[in-house]
Symmetry: C2
Subunit: 263 residues, 2 copies
DNA sequence: CATTGTGAACGATTTCACAGCC
DNA sequence: GGCTGTGAAATCGTTCACAATG
């Protein structure tokens, strides 16, 4: 099913760069903490430290939103909270559905951050008939058959996919057909969606693999690497070359799980 | 807080750009799928489609690894699987610990992708004495008291933090003190770590907020007609974005106090 | 006079386009 | 002929440094 494709000049974000958008929630969290402690104003330096970025970047980011600071003083915390919330669209309520109520889906349903800031879990959906009706995080699990009606009845535009990889594309297609235009995908698959639909992906094993890369590099650093098995003969004609499947030196014969889907 | 100078000159990746490293796991997954279907070779175009990127980028990425393809033919699937696995450090076994066995921690423990590709869950750790001994995903939960000995005994260098935000920094400090040098953080907090320790962050509410931003823009477009030069609305395509890289960050004088906490 | 806001320099990443090779 | 590998160009993101200003 060739599909895939779909790239575009990326977000024509009308001003605000994508990288900045990705940091706004970070600033918002830091500001909310300050707000709860009734701190009235904050400098770019302080806020940057709290958010884990540097101050120049923060000021540049804010400059895309407008001039919300006061020279010589800093930023008004409450005002900034409001401005960023508005910019992110969090002043309105976003109903979301979570599809796939396994371990991960249940964890997501219980995630406090959902309810707390602009998001409301409209429904939990699972394909297993045995799950139907069972309460998870205070909501009854609904069967996949109801997916379309749930979406339209609640005007859901954001969907979270926490199904096994094999089911993700199908679920995605149904969500999109029913009107969802933003998807947060936890399944380890590349989803193909029509233009106009946004997909963000969260992938545990990818994060771990990136860590492993850096970890490996640290380890090798001590011995000034250059450990290329010089014998590498890319002469890809065929022939020699260690069998893939990599993975070596297991501790125990622990079932190496052929893993049909890297779940 | 001396100017939170905790930044490393950004990965001294010795050759391979960070952006490329972040995509290698994607390629690896696509290649593994091809391998399971016994596909012998693949072109950059096909593989790129399967991985959800464009072919020029993929070829450029591979060029940092070496010349592993054959002009006029493509790439040998098995060979590439091996090379990427090796580059990522997945030919060895990485023991990891998961700290915080709530909903999320349990979900992670059950995550098939852990065991399946180079990672082995060495232990599950929780601060709740009532949890101790209870089996989760086939492993008995261990108490936090044992954290240090577990790390050293198993030579763990990668830790996963799935605790509430308030406990994260403390857990992080103990992990690092015990020898962990890579951390995957699910708690919504900025962790401060000494130089040489890598932190990656996965934050659900941030991902949702980014989606909300784009969702809002789509909604607003309909009413406030965009004055984009092009007649057709050039909206964001189906860009799939992975969470931004989590770099180490300056410390935070505040205690914790994030607005949201995971289960 | 401390601090914002921002042009301009710099650096990283993506895309183009085509030479080189099988 | 088809496809890789890669310089060069284009784009995007970060950092510098300082003028503007409450």
């Amino acid at each position: 099913m060739a599909t895939g494709r779909t790239h575009r000049p990326a977000t024509r974000s009308r001003g605000i760069p994508e990288a900045t958008v990705a940091r706004l929630p970070l600033y918002l969290r830091a500001l909310t903490a300050l707000s709860e402690r009734s701190v009235p104003t904050v400098s770019s330096e302080e806020l940057a430290t709290a958010a884990g970025v540097n101050s120049a970047k923060l000021r540049k980011d804010f400059s895309y939103l407008g001039s919300y600071g006061t020279r010589g003083v800093g930023y008004d915390v409450e005002y900034l909270v409001y401005q960023i919330s508005r910019e992110l669209g969090l002043t309105q309520d976003w109903p979301v559905v979570i599809v796939g109520i396994g371990n991960l889906g249940a964890a997501l349903a219980n995630y406090g951050g959902f309810a707390s800031r602009g998001f409301r879990v409209a429904a939990l959906i699972d394909a297993d008939p045995a799950m139907a009706g069972k309460p998870v995080a205070g909501l009854p699990v609904r069967h996949t058959d109801e997916l379309e009606s749930i979406i339209t009845d609640n005007d859901v535009s954001i969907g979270v996919i926490a199904t096994p990889a094999g089911a993700a594309q199908q679920v995605c297609d149904r969500l999109v057909a029913a009107g969802v235009t933003s998807i947060l995908n936890f399944a380890p698959t590349v989803l193909s969606v029509p233009e106009g639909v946004d997909v963000r992906k969260v992938d545990l094993s990818i994060e771990l693999q990136i860590l492993a890369f850096h970890e490996q590099r640290k380890a090798g650093e001590e011995t000034t690497s250059a450990q290329e098995p010089a014998a590498v003969q890319p002469r890809s004609g065929a022939a020699v070359r260690t069998p893939a499947a990599g993975r070596a030196a297991g501790k125990g014969p622990d079932g190496d799980v052929p893993a049909v889907m890297p779940a």
